[in-house]
């Protein structure tokens, strides 16, 4: 039986939004919720700057996901693993 892979992009975005101070946190949650729905996206389309922010936020979550980042040549797990190996090899903190 295969175990469902966690959605690191979505989880990462949720943690990022949760880490924001108020009132930004509430604003970001609203933007993410709107950007994820077609009707919300149409509403956001009326305000260019806000649309860009919402679009960027959700896209950030999308490309945080290892599978999506890999399609663009970015393998975060390999970078982190190489770093750990080098630190061990060279006795760094």
């Amino acid at each position: 039986m295969s175990r469902a892979r966690p959605n690191l992009g979505r989880e990462g975005l949720d943690r990022f939004v949760d880490a924001a101070p108020q009132p930004e946190r509430s604003g970001l949650r609203l933007l993410v919720a709107l950007e994820r729905r077609p009707r919300g996206r149409r509403m956001l389309g009326r305000a260019h700057t806000v649309e860009q922010l919402a679009n960027g936020l959700v896209a950030m979550g999308h490309y945080e996901d290892p599978a999506n980042a890999l399609t663009l040549g970015w393998d975060a797990d390999a970078i982190a693993a190489r770093g750990r190996a080098l630190r061990r090899e060279e006795g760094r903190l």
């Binding site: 679009n55 945080e64 080098l86």
Partner: protein, 495 residues
């Protein structure tokens, strides 16, 4: 009936508040010089084994407010600040410049800081930090193709440029300096000066939220802190070094009733506001392979405009791209051919920080003179990318707004170098600390972070902050800073 726990009490010669660029350096030098030192750091001790190279994940862990501290004003400016042992040195790009001579001259002339800004006297301080942090110039190979694009443009235009000097050792170009170096190649103070301080006997306590600096009859008595387990801590020390950073130092001093006599506490905030631009190239760039900030163009430094490399993994670029909808998706599909570069302004605008319900409220309005610098800088940035062969250039402006017509509200800005909120000035009526970084009118309370820097530097400030902290530590020890071997290259500065 519950009883309030008695505070734990520690006695020391020196209590250092904050383990960032200033605090860690001062703590290590003092401890190695024989002082008993306690370092209180509000944030945690980070484990590099848990660094994931994923920006969103690391922003939430390594930054205050997940990197979303924002100024109030036009435009709002994102001000990411590191949190934990190492402070912002943990998450900065590692770029190291000595304080430009013209800036030191201004400190002497405008702020009466003859001794503090004495270039010759500071030289051994800089040299000592440069040696401790293995500061050296990035090689073209390690700089990667993103830097090569900017270099090609600068060479075609005949603009002054060079590879940056950084505090890195054994760097393999992981491309995530701002999100926790997975190889610990970046020599941030959390893995350099803090271990030195501990080896020399300093107690370093993380998760300690300092509430007040205690002063009696005009002299430091110690500090009171809350610990992560809910307990209270009192450090009794005749010398206190406040190094909470430019945003939080004035808040701590204000709630301790200190530093307010001049009316300058929390004012004079300079930020070095910055923006980024992207270019779609006809080649594979893979911007995050190599050192993100490895190259600079200082052709316009005299005008207060500096170009420095910036780059990141796809999720970071997705957030930074000044596009939306289909155009955003198309640009991201071409991520491997995107180049990115940053533009930083040595600002004349000044802001302020004050506390509201215990949180910093940062106000900063970009004045027209600085908006004009951004207009010119963005025009030049576009030229740079075009000269490098860019097909399309994406500046951080709304659609239809050209650089020459940009207004403050059109700019999409970030800032990484807050300075000046407890500025040094020899005159008590104009500054918070004196030339020895001691609070005017209070014996034994010193400040050692970006807040004492009295003006914009025009360059990355970590080396300035560390050199000033070195000077302070040796001053408190009553010793000269020992000479260190340096090369001419180590003294290179931006003109």
């Amino acid at each position: 009936m519950s009883r309030r726990r008695e505070p734990r009490i520690i006695e020391a010669d020196v209590c250092v508040i904050g383990a960032g660029a200033g605090g860690a350096v001062a703590a290590a030098e003092l401890a190695e010089g024989g002082a008993s030192v306690v370092v209180l750091e509000q944030g945690p001790r980070h484990d590099a084994d848990r660094f994931s190279a994923r920006p969103l994940d690391m922003l939430a862990r390594l930054y205050r407010d997940g990197g979303q501290t924002t100024t109030l004003g036009t435009p709002p400016i994102l001000l990411p600040l590191g949190r934990g042992l190492g402070g912002t040195t943990l998450v900065n790009s590692g770029t190291c410049f000595r304080t430009p001579p013209a800036v030191l001259e201004r400190w002497r002339g405008e702020f009466g800081l003859e001794a503090l800004a004495d270039e010759q006297a500071l030289d051994p301080c800089f040299a000592r930090v440069e040696q401790a942090l293995s500061i050296s110039e990035v090689t073209p190979e390690l700089a990667g193709r993103n830097a090569a694009v900017a270099r090609r443009g600068a060479e075609a235009l005949g603009w002054s440029h060079g590879f940056l000097r950084r505090n890195a050792r054994g760097c393999v170009g992981s491309g995530v300096c701002a999100f926790g170096c997975p190889t610990s190649a970046k020599q941030h103070v959390g893995i350099t000066y803090i271990p030195r301080a501990e080896a020399a006997g300093a107690q370093v306590i993380s998760g300690a939220d300092v509430r007040h600096v205690l002063v009696e009859r005009g002299a430091a008595r110690g500090v009171e802190a809350r610990l992560a387990d809910g307990g209270r801590l009192e450090v009794r020390a005749p010398t206190v070094i406040v190094a909470c950073g430019t945003i939080h130092t004035p808040l701590l001093l204000a709630r301790s009733g200190l530093g307010r006599a001049s009316g300058e506490l929390g004012r004079n905030l300079a930020l070095h506001p910055a923006t980024g631009a992207f270019a779609l190239m006809d080649e594979v760039v893979d911007m995050a392979r190599g050192v993100p900030q490895s190259f600079y163009v200082d052709e316009f430094a005299r005008e207060g405009i500096m170009f420095e490399g910036v780059a990141g993994p796809p999720s970071y670029v997705a957030m930074s791209l000044p596009l939306s909808g289909k155009r955003h998706a198309e640009a991201m599909a071409n991520y491997r051919s995107l180049a990115m570069f940053g533009l930083m302004v040595s600002d004349r605008s000044r802001g302020s920080v004050r506390s509201l319900a215990g949180r910093p409220v940062i106000r900063y309005e970009l004045i027209e003179e600085d908006v004009a610098r951004f207009r010119r800088g963005l025009q030049r940035m576009e030229e740079l990318f075009r000269a490098a062969g860019a097909g399309e250039v994406y500046l951080g402006l709304p659609g239809g707004v050209t650089p020459e017509r940009a207004r403050a509200r059109d700019l999409k800005l970030m800032a990484f170098h807050p300075l000046g909120t407890a500025r040094a000035d020899a005159r008590p009526e104009h500054g918070v600390v004196d030339g020895n970084l001691q609070l005017h009118g209070v014996t034994g309370v010193h400040v050692a972070d970006g807040s004492v820097v009295p003006s914009s530097l025009g360059v990355n400030p970590q080396l300035t902050i560390m050199a000033l902290a070195t000077r302070l530590a040796f001053g408190l020890l009553g010793r000269d800073v020992p000479p260190t071997e340096t090369t001419d290259a180590a003294r290179e500065r931006v003109a």
